[in-house]
């Protein structure tokens, strides 16, 4: 089973923040080395786990009331492998970060859990939609390292 690598309540940073030392937060992360290995040395890639499937990706105008607006919203629905998957938020964050880094600025990224596939979907969706939390996560080197590793097979 997938153990808790990250507490869903505090997923966008690991424990007490210490801006002076990324080493300290690394220490906190490696306190549970087994989890990390379980997750990231999982033999099956995210792609093979069918976390995202093609019919669950939508591209729509962001502002339907303004027909000539160039803004488009890319919606990606994620299907966790099990309904209590504790990594749903990190996986979702990874998808959001990858899309934001690859798409032009006129795209708004909306990553959500597919309805009925996760026990705490609302909570996860709220975190993934929070621009400020996502921005702060991008500045967290440790978390970005975890996400980079997770997306290694998704080139």
């Amino acid at each position: 089973s997938l153990s808790t690598l990250v507490n869903t309540d505090d997923v966008f940073s690991f424990g007490k923040y210490n801006p002076d030392s990324d080493i300290e937060s690394l220490d906190e992360l490696t306190e549970e080395p087994i989890d990390e290995q379980e997750v990231f040395e999982h033999p099956i890639s995210l792609g093979a786990l069918a976390v995202v499937s093609l019919p669950d990706i939508l591209i729509e105008p962001s502002l339907p009331s303004i027909p000539d607006s160039p803004l488009r919203t890319v919606t990606v629905l994620i299907t966790p492998t099990i309904s209590h998957c504790s990594l749903a938020t990190v996986i979702g964050l990874g998808v959001r970060v990858r899309l934001e880094q690859s798409l032009p600025s006129r795209f708004r990224v909306d990553v959500r859990i597919k309805e009925g596939t996760h026990s705490t979907a609302d909570e996860v969706n709220k975190q993934l939609a929070d621009k400020e939390r996502v921005a702060a996560a991008l500045e967290n080197g440790t978390l970005m390292g975890v996400i980079g590793k997770m997306l290694e097979t998704c080139k």
Binding site: P19, P64, L71, K131
Partner: protein, 400 residues
């Protein structure tokens, strides 16, 4: 057909940050603006010529999220809140030129010195706000807490922690002091707005406002009479008896505006104490809070729907009484309050959208909006400008 807009561009601030800029804080009295950027710096611009005066760097290790000028002081003191979990206090000993700070010959770092780092929050600091007297600084964070610090003003840069409030159930996104009273409002990821006051020696929650169906990104107070010293802004279209009744009602209450991820802007009114007590059952002894500091607040209005996506900032003009809002859809919306003619209650008002400008920063999200006194050469008496701040780092100054 091209729509004619009431909101028109006056100028961009140059040169801008090239990274996401979160907020722009106008100085309370001088024509200065401080902007907070993801590049970890604060830029100070002149509102006289819209050019960069100083870049303050080296204090924060991550994005600067928020900034506020200390009011009621002769020095220039700026508080900043950062994703690095700290709050910085900066001082500028040299007086900026009020009228013709052309910024040309200035060393960009000149004058600004970092005086103290307030350490206490466990994670990103989201917002900072000074009380009107300038003696109290409120800060809030993703750690769900609000801290109140007292500037001891002992010449030694000492700040004392006065209170730590942890009632919010999620990130505290914003804090804002009442324009006169020592009453603090906060908005949160837990979808609530809370109000805080000091009771003898303890700071505590005096109200919790529910109504928003998503994160409350920002709250702002209406300009407040608070006695006879300042004038209350009056809705448009009133006759003399409506205006005097309005002033009387306002002297005994207060209003707050809030905006949310739920795409609504709401107005809340504090009910006068005596009115509230009439409805309190007298046979129930109040054990929990014997001094009865609790306040009764009502949702007074939901402004007309004007945004398609999250609304990040709402700003209530202390001069005109107009409200402006901005958000992820890239619009600037300005609302105005008017007396309703067709109501039994002579003090009934309605809010209308006087302009909605889409794509104000092109394809970029607008993170912040603020009202400021116009200070460039074209100014007319008491004219105001709107200042908007966007994801691409651009900061624009608008006339309405």
């Amino acid at each position: 057909m091209e729509q004619i807009h009431k909101i028109t561009l006056l100028s961009d601030l140059t040169p801008p940050s090239l990274e996401r800029t979160w907020l722009s804080a106008p100085h309370p009295t001088l024509p200065l603006l401080a902007t907070c950027s993801a590049d970890k710096t604060v830029r100070v611009y002149s509102l006289t010529n819209f050019r960069l005066l100083s870049t303050i760097s080296g204090g924060h290790k991550r994005s600067v999220r928020s900034a506020a000028w200390k009011p009621n002081t002769k020095e220039n003191v700026l508080a900043t809140g950062s994703f690095d979990a700290t709050v910085g206090i900066w001082r500028n000993d040299e007086q900026e030129d009020e009228d013709e700070g052309d910024g040309q010959d200035r060393d960009p770092e000149e004058g600004w010195a970092f005086s103290v780092l307030l350490d206490g929050h466990d994670s990103e600091v989201k917002s900072v706000s000074w009380s009107s007297s300038g003696s109290l600084l409120a800060t809030c964070s993703r750690d769900k807490s609000i801290w109140i610090w007292e500037d001891l003003e002992d010449g030694d840069n000492n700040f004392e922690t006065v209170a730590v409030m942890q009632e919010h159930g999620g990130d505290v996104k914003c804090v804002s002091w009442h324009p006169v009273e020592e009453c603090l409002a906060s908005g949160s990821y837990d979808d609530t707005i809370r109000l805080w006051r000091e009771d003898v020696d303890d700071w505590g929650q005096v109200a919790c406002l529910r109504g928003h169906a998503g994160t409350v990104w920002c709250v702002d107070w209406e300009g407040e009479g608070g006695g006879s010293t300042t004038t209350t802004t009056i809705p448009a279209g009133g006759n003399s008896s409506q205006i005097s009744a309005w002033k009387e009602k306002h002297a005994r209450s207060a209003r707050l505006v809030s905006c949310s991820d739920d795409r609504t802007v709401r107005i809340w009114r504090r009910q006068p104490k005596d009115h509230h007590q009439q409805y309190r059952p007298s046979d129930v002894p109040s054990i929990i809070r014997p001094t009865g500091l609790e306040e009764h607040w009502d949702e007074e209005a939901v402004l007309p729907t004007a945004h398609d996506l999250s609304i990040y900032t709402v700003a209530w003009s202390k001069a005109s009484g107009r409200i402006a809002s901005v958000g992820a859809d890239g619009r600037i919306v300005v609302y105005e309050e008017q007396f309703t003619t067709s109501s039994d209650d002579p003090l009934q008002t309605t809010w209308t959208v006087i302009d909605s400008l889409p794509g104000a920063h092109g394809i970029y999200e607008i993170n912040h909006v603020a009202w400021a006194k116009r200070a460039d050469r074209g100014k007319q008496a008491d004219e105001e400008v709107l200042i908007t701040t966007a994801d691409d780092g651009s900061v624009k100054v608008w006339l309405v």
